[in-house]
Symmetry: none
Subunit: 360 residues, 2 copies
DNA sequence: TGAACTGCTGAATCAGATA
DNA sequence: GTATCTGATTCAGCAGTTC
């Protein structure tokens, strides 16, 4: 089954997800409710004789109900997720611990917890606690064995001034223009997330064209960011009013042109060039000598693309590791050849071969 | 019962806590095993081996076994805690969700989760995830009705440059001189916490003279910080070797008057504003064109904050240097974007983002 | 004397394709 | 499923040495 680029479903998210085909979505982003409905039931103002056991029981019942709900929607979510897909869940200390345990118990494998560090949080007015200045996101693959989840490491590193992206993200709250307002000017949704947060989630863990499912769609931040970034989305939401806001909002989003979606790619994704091809193409010749950067080691190129140091023969990687007594070695950067300007890594020859290859 | 100012008990923490009188301590700080589940060896890019936490005390058979252990020590801890006392537990995503659920289920009432944001975390060497740059602390009172927990609001605010203390704390790792070393110069304990972290915990949630219990005492960071701040402590630790280090260490601590205490690490590290954030926040869009001041060079913005001039892609700084054939370039001042009033340097956009982040 | 440089290290669930 | 091979991958801070 393939989805249209924009799907919004009104209804209960568990039923709606169970109606979707299994293993059909690439990423799930979920911002579940965390109204534990505590306080009212548990507060006993008379305070005359608080039975501690009863207190715990009440609390347990309430937490148990939330846990049951959490496990049910997570289970439904896991069914529709592709085996190489991943899930994000956002929450606060009220619910995130319970969500995290359910995520782990259902077989997801946590990859990171990520902190959304708010630049402009609401202060704690009473001065009774630390200002609650962050929320927590859990990023998990479908299972421990699912090693092929999407992570655009190089693009994220580029987006962070060429330093690898950390697990704490500093992003402002959703305010001002971006905040969706109702007819009376009041905020349309109590917990609208900033689009910058979703931008980073989607940029880091999906590819263009991927299908993103949001079971608690609200006013459609996930949909807006997905559309902007050329991803498909499925949003599920119970409240007709939120859906109305979401539709209006998403209709106004202009997608980035496909050719402008291109980002810094991974070296791992580049086509493999065996060292033998360098020799085959005459960029090096059998009998030529390779050197390590300091010239301490020298190796001879052989016709089949292996190299020799004394009696030792093998691949550029193996021999490189052996002469250094290292557990591993990248021969492309370790070995150099002589040029007029001095030693140059053989990786430049590989780059020449790749440049001459037809674009895929 | 009253305790001496410094008590260290060797033994199992659950048995030792059960031997203490109930409702006798003011604060508990616990740094339990994290239940890391590591694969094989991890090599850095330079082929050196990461010194992993592979100690026997961190090994558990299953989540269920870890949960059982967690509930048992938390239950024992709750018994010895005064009704107006509080508990801190620190952990990572491997264990903190399970700890948090146990804390809630046992009747504690979470007041905050606090993020220890590390200035100098270990990077992710393989480029597979976000750098794991934080740990999470849970701060909880003994029960929901226990409103009289200690929180030194004004002192904390003062120590934080007159701004309310937030739930994310930026503090460096414990390294250098502070790190306790064994006879052979290697680290005495694999997970020693920075004293600055304990200062802040103790300063914010205890009064001078309070009794602080640490059931996983290790090399005694809690004891050292408690003594320095004029609090009593009880440390429980199984390993005789750790206790030996702790005693030596704590003996060298000179208590200081709280008013003389300078909050360590309270200066907020000003996060850089990477160019990717400008795009993320929609101040520029993928596909937009940047120009040098004279308009001779043009570059296209990409979704990850890299830019492209023809086939060349890279950061604003790198590409700026390349088009000028210069060794280096400040991309913020070199590249401009079109406005109604002509070209403006992209640095004005960075200023806008910074202005929107008063507490970044 | 100081700047520059080299080396080491920190709670880490850390690769991917092919045979 | 396992075994083998290619070859990609790090940031901040401290200590010790060199220039």
């Amino acid at each position: 089954m393939s989805f249209g680029p924009e799907t919004i479903i009104q209804g209960d998210c568990i039923e709606a997800m169970n109606a979707l085909p299994e293993k059909s979505v690439d990423l799930i982003f979920a911002d579940p409710p965390y109204n534990l409905q505590l306080g009212g039931d548990l507060l006993r103002p008379d305070n005359s004789k608080v039975d501690a056991v009863d207190d715990h029981w009440d609390q347990f019942e309430s937490f148990a109900a939330y846990d049951k709900f959490t496990r049910e929607w997570l289970k439904a979510a896991r069914r529709v997720l592709k085996d190489d897909g991943a899930i994000w869940v956002i929450g606060s200390y009220h619910n995130i611990f319970r969500v995290g345990v359910a995520v782990q118990d259902l077989g997801f494998w946590i990859l990171n917890d990520v902190i959304w560090r708010k630049t402009n949080p609401m202060p704690n007015f009473k001065g009774t606690r630390f200002a609650n200045a962050h929320e927590t996101l859990i990023w998990a693959s479908k299972s421990q064995n699912a090693k092929r989840y999407t992570f655009n490491y190089d693009a994220l590193k580029m987006a962070n001034d060429e330093v690898q992206m950390r697990s704490d993200w500093t992003i402002p709250l959703c305010t001002g223009e971006e905040r969706i307002k109702g007819a009376d000017g009041s905020k349309a949704h109590p917990t609208q997330k900033p689009e910058a947060l979703l931008y980073r989630v989607i940029l880091s863990t999906t590819k263009p064209g991927d299908v993103i499912l949001d079971p608690f769609f609200g006013v459609g931040t996930t949909g807006a960011a997905a559309k902007r970034l050329g991803r498909k989305f499925i949003g599920i939401e119970r409240e007709a009013e939120y859906i109305e806001h979401a539709r209006t909002r998403i209709a106004q989003v202009t997608p980035i042109a496909p050719q402008d979606l291109e980002m810094t790619g991974s070296k791992r994704a580049e086509p493999r060039v065996p060292f033998g091809v360098i020799v085959e193409n005459g960029l090096l010749h059998p009998g030529d000598t390779l050197y390590c950067a300091k010239g301490a080691h020298a190796a001879k190129v052989r016709p089949d693309g292996s190299i020799a140091v004394g009696d030792l023969t093998g691949s550029i990687h193996k021999i490189g590791a052996m002469v250094q007594s290292a557990p591993a070695c990248n021969g492309w950067t370790y070995w150099h050849f002589k040029t007029d300007a001095g030693l140059a890594p053989i990786d430049v020859l590989r780059a020449q071969v790749r440049a001459a290859m037809p674009h895929a």
